[in-house]
């Protein structure tokens, strides 16, 4: 077996697992059907990491495995490329996927159909990052999309159905424009593979430059919808806030980042790619700040987290865009790309952790409003959690997203700011960091005890043997705790082993098997000082936010009008601005 065959195991094993899960659906309900379903999940989520371990030496040495699917001729067949980027995104997908699936065993949605669709989604992620063919990318994005449209409403909330519908409409329309972009490139170059397009664009006449730019703009904006970068973010908050907790973790951990990294494959090769990176980098910086401001204004716990995902994806896009505009072959570009990926990965870990632990808490308390819910620890204890694991997990996640050393968020955020020091985005991201601290102080209030009375109350209840507060006992605490602890351990480990991980990621992103990225010194005095200042600023901002004037402002932000139409208006205007920017840059 050649390495070309092995890499497809990362796509085919989840599909095989999904097929097993669907077969389990047919068997009469019972132990055997469950065993088949779990076997499917094991095949789909357990075996691919082993394959990745086997592939590590190949990729680490700077080799990339590329070729044509089915060994057909290059011009017609589908080309693929498995390199460091694909390898890392695979790791990201399988880590979060496995944790979320374990969580879903406890918290639901359960059943072979869910397992099957979930595995298909994982397979689509791996295929998306591996393909270097435009139409195949279209198909992969559609699979990713359709699995999300199916998974989001499984929470059974009415809002989730509406969110899924809005997401479906805007992203399905965007995919039609993606198809038109594909048409433009095929017409100009007669090729669908990135390499063929890139070669073909060298020889086109100047009259056709406009078409090539417009096609690129169409592709980029259709993908930007999935990434939820600032003007195109409108579908995300409802979808992520109302989906089942396990699905939210995957959606905001993995699904919004994979298309971004898949897009970078296109942009590396095309002449206008650098300008696109520049514009998206700025959009990312703005996203980071605005996302956190809106997040601070939210009262629904999961929606707050969803807006944070937008803000954090802003960080990633800012670093990613800057890397592409500098050129990823340069050391500076590579270090930015490393920082972008590292933040994507770490964000997936800590945001997954936060979604899961907040999910457990709001399930226990039956309340999502951060202004009302209090004494989360007590409620969790009443539900049967002896050691406050959920709370500890939440604290780890919070400290991590607020970039407190020695957790992983500190490492990746420092890596990003270190690499872009002096640029406009540096200041934008520093502002966003302050907002992050403030909004997580706000969120952590749900665990604050209700004061002396609350304590007394519980003791009183214990004496009387009754409980006045209705506590729902959510099923499957064990599975939930396992998944949360797994991610929490990753959070801490990612922070402690920062140096090694940075080296490995840097090597995987550099060509030739040697690390060409500049390794930032993470635990320097300057960085620690900055963290202290940021935290202090965050605390101050929090007090401003809960003051009277602050709450009025936040109330206005929270209740700003949002419409279905706005999604489309921002999409088409965003595309037009991007196209205009590129055309002006070229002429």
């Amino acid at each position: 077996m050649r390495p070309e065959d092995i890499v497809f195991a990362t796509v085919m094993l989840p599909l095989l697992g999904a097929a097993l899960a669907f077969c389990a659906k047919l068997l009469p309900k019972g132990r055997f059907a469950m065993a088949v379903e779990y076997a499917g999940a094991l095949v789909g989520l357990g075996l691919p990491p082993l394959v990745l371990i086997v592939l590590f030496p190949v990729v680490f040495n700077g080799q990339s495995i590329s070729g044509v699917v089915g060994l057909w001729s290059v011009g017609i067949g589908i080309t693929f490329r498995f390199d460091g980027l694909a390898y890392l995104v695979n790791i990201l997908g399988y880590t979060i996927g496995a944790a979320a699936w374990i969580y879903s065993l406890g918290a639901g949605p359960k059943g072979p159909a869910f397992t099957g669709v979930f595995l298909i989604q994982t397979a689509a992620l791996c295929a998306t990052i591996m393909t270097t063919d435009l139409f195949n990318l279209f198909v992969c994005l559609e699979i990713m999309g359709i699995t999300s449209y199916v998974l989001i409403p499984t929470s059974g909330k009415p809002g989730a159905t509406l969110a899924s519908f809005s997401y479906l409409m805007v992203s399905a329309s965007a995919m039609v424009f993606f198809l038109l972009g594909t048409y433009g490139f095929y017409r100009l170059t007669g090729s669908l593979s990135y390499g063929g397009i890139s070669a073909g664009l060298q020889t086109i006449s100047t009259d056709d430059t406009v078409l090539s730019i417009v096609s690129l703009a169409l592709l980029v904006s259709a993908i930007a919808i999935r990434v939820a970068v600032m003007p195109l973010y409108g579908w995300l908050p409802d979808a992520h806030a109302l989906a089942p907790h396990a699905v939210s973790a995957v959606l905001s951990g993995v699904l919004i980042k994979t298309p971004l990294f898949a897009l970078s494959r296109i942009l590396f090769l095309l002449p206008s790619g650098m300008e696109v990176g520049e514009l998206m980098g700025i959009a990312g910086g703005v996203t980071a700040v605005l996302g956190v401001v809106i997040a601070l204004s939210q009262e629904d716990a999961k929606r707050l987290l969803a807006y944070h995902s937008i803000s954090q994806i802003g960080y990633i896009v800012a670093a990613w865009g800057m890397a592409i505009s500098i050129g990823v072959d340069t050391p500076a570009g590579t270090s930015l790309m490393v920082a972008a990926f590292l933040h994507a990965f770490y964000h997936a870990v800590f945001k997954g952790l936060l979604f899961l632990s907040i999910g457990t808490t709001i399930d226990v308390a039956n309340e999502r409003n951060v202004y009302i819910l209090r004494d989360g620890i007590g409620k969790l204890r009443d539900a049967g959690e002896k050691v406050p694991i959920t709370f500890i997990c939440f604290v780890i996640g919070t400290l991590s997203i607020s970039a407190i050393p020695p957790l992983n968020g500190f490492v990746s955020k420092t890596a990003i700011t270190y690499a872009m020091k002096g640029s406009l985005n540096y200041y934008l991201l520093s502002m966003a960091a302050v907002g992050t601290v403030a909004s997580f102080i706000k969120l952590s209030r749900i665990y604050w005890p209700t004061g002396k009375r609350g304590r007394l109350h519980i003791e009183l209840d214990d004496c009387l043997g009754t409980s006045s507060i209705p506590i729902s006992r959510p099923p499957g605490l064990v599975a939930r705790m396992t998944a949360q602890s797994l991610l929490a351990v990753l959070c801490v480990a990612g922070g402690l082993a920062a140096h090694h991980i940075l080296t490995i990621v840097g090597t995987l992103f550099s060509s030739g098997g040697t690390n060409s990225a500049v390794l930032p010194t993470i635990y320097s005095g300057e960085n620690l000082l900055k963290t202290g200042a940021t935290t202090l600023g965050g605390v101050l901002l929090f007090f401003v936010a809960i003051s009277k004037a602050g709450s009025t402002v936040l109330h206005t932000i929270r209740n700003r009008p949002r419409s279905f139409q706005g999604l489309f208006v921002s999409f088409s205007l965003g595309t037009a601005v991007l196209a205009a920017f590129l055309v002006v840059g070229k002429l």
Partner: protein, 254 residues
């Protein structure tokens, strides 16, 4: 205020469509001649490499079979999602909207219609005709499916025809309820097993040294056998899943 509210959405929509129209102008007005390299290659080598006379089939199930796998997955997920929502739609007995329309939920071409309402449009005639035509439609579906490499058609198109044959059988035979094919457990079984088979066939190329999604029969006397095999699997899968969905939509859940 009222006036602004009424006009602002139209203005926004106009802006969106105008912007998109301008962006799309170069795409639609491009005069560059269509590239011929791929076509020329396929005309010369397509038949030798894949064995199919129908070049679209050769691409669809040969050169770009990976896309086709993606397409069948999209169908599979869509059917599962629709069925999931469907079961929830049916469980909502009394929706908020108490219009006259919601009483007519039991549709004219419902399979469970007779038990529930009296004004069913289906007649004995329809039952007899669909029952008799069903097998012929199935046969035609199999023809389209199996001859996809020679003539227009193929697994997907054949599968849809098979699905309509299954629905015909279900409509025709509900009095005595004998049609095995309209049972959801059987259809679901065919769907899942053929999905599994599809994946196994896709992987099989690896063991013949042809790579993932390669044609394991490429060196044999009948390279086209691979396309016929894939067509059959896709046809069964599509037929089962679309038939499953249509029958479920008509109310034949049990």
């Amino acid at each position: 205020m009222g006036k602004r509210k009424a006009w602002s959405p139209i203005l926004q929509a106009g802006l969106a469509i105008g912007a998109m129209g301008i962006v799309l102008l170069p795409v639609f007005l491009c005069q560059t001649p269509w590239p011929t390299a791929a076509r020329d290659y396929l005309v010369q080598h397509g038949q030798d490499e894949s064995g199919a006379i129908n070049l679209v089939s050769a691409i669809y199930l040969g050169y770009r079979a990976f896309d086709t796998l993606g397409e069948t997955i999209v169908l599979l997920v869509a059917v599962i999602g629709t069925m999931g929502l469907l079961s929830r739609v049916e469980s909502l007995v009394n929706p908020i909207g108490d219009d006259d329309n919601s009483i007519q939920t039991v549709s004219a071409f419902s399979l469970r219609g007779e038990k529930r309402s009296s004004h069913v449009l289906r007649t004995h005639l329809l039952e007899v005709v669909t029952g008799k035509i069903g097998p012929i439609v199935l046969l035609f579906g199999f023809y389209v499916m199996l001859y996809g490499h020679l003539s227009p058609g193929g697994g997907f198109q054949g599968g849809v025809i098979i699905a309509s044959g299954i629905v015909f059988l279900a409509l025709g035979n509900q009095q005595d309820n004998t049609s095995v094919l309209s049972k959801s457990s059987i259809l679901g079984g065919i769907e899942s097993v053929s999905f599994l088979l599809f994946i196994v066939v896709a992987i099989s190329g690896i063991f013949f040294g042809k790579g993932f999604f390669g044609n394991p029969l490429a060196d044999s006397a009948y390279p086209v056998g691979f396309i016929v095999l894939m067509n059959s699997i896709i046809g069964l899968k599509v037929g089962a899943s679309i038939g499953f969905m249509c029958i479920a939509m008509m109310g034949g859940h049990d």
